[in-house]
């Protein structure tokens, strides 16, 4: 990552499928990854439903884009912050979420989890550290 890299946070606050926001947001992150910036994602409110495991759209004739989140690690998007309070409000825990990993090139390509559960104070601090925040 070059010295000119800016810190980007993509904030996701909407559930998948009901609206196009989640899918569009994910596509923008993947496109943006080509620009070699320091990218992270935050999942807040209904956005945490995007990472629910076991999504199956066979009977609803929609594209199941949840496997696409697995590609994020290969694009160096490996900081996916999930707000603890949003998870708890929805009766969910980390066990309900996709198992997303990336290979840490600075640590012998060890597989590490991309999802990090953070509380509201930690997320507030992370937001303050960004150069740019984009919302979907």
């Amino acid at each position: 990552m070059g010295n000119g890299a800016k810190k980007f946070m993509y904030v996701n606050r909407r559930a998948p499928y009901g609206t196009i926001y989640a899918l569009e947001g994910l596509e923008v992150v993947l496109i943006g990854a080509a620009f070699d910036q320091d990218v992270c994602m935050a999942f807040v409110d209904d956005g945490v439903f995007q990472l629910k495991k076991g999504q199956d759209t066979n009977e609803s004739n929609m594209k199941n884009f949840s496997p696409t989140y697995r590609a994020l690690g290969d694009y160096d998007v490996n900081k996916l912050y999930v707000e603890k309070e949003s998870l708890e409000q929805r009766g969910m825990s980390e066990d309900d979420l996709l198992e997303l990993t990336y290979e840490d090139e600075e640590d012998d390509y060890k597989e590490k989890p991309s999802i990090r559960i953070v509380n509201k104070e930690e997320l507030a601090d992370l937001m303050e550290q960004q150069d740019v925040i984009l919302n979907y």
């Binding site: 904030v11 606050r13 807040v44 409110d45 707000e83 309070e85 509201k120 997320l123 507030a124 601090d125 937001m127 303050e128 960004q130 150069d131 740019v132 925040i133 919302n135």
Partner: protein, 100 residues
Amino acid sequence: MLHTINKSPFEKNSLDTCLRLAKSGSEILLLEDGVYAAIKGTAVEPKMRQALSDYTVYALGPDLKARGIEEDRLIDGIEVVGYDGFVDLAANSDRVQSWL
């Protein structure tokens, strides 16, 4: 840091999430349907009064006017700004978070 809210607090959770995640000392600007949060005597007034002790809260004048909300109906302590004030707030902040 400037936070903007453009959704009605009676329809969306944008205000709640902003208040949960904005750090103390931040600026909050209510605009578009977000200005409904600035009115006195609503169900969200206690929440806004609490917010005023942690944040500086602004409401966008042209959006209040468009909705027929007179300034004497606003919760004390909320500052009305015009488009120029909005620009100043954004320009003077390191970053802006829009709670859509």
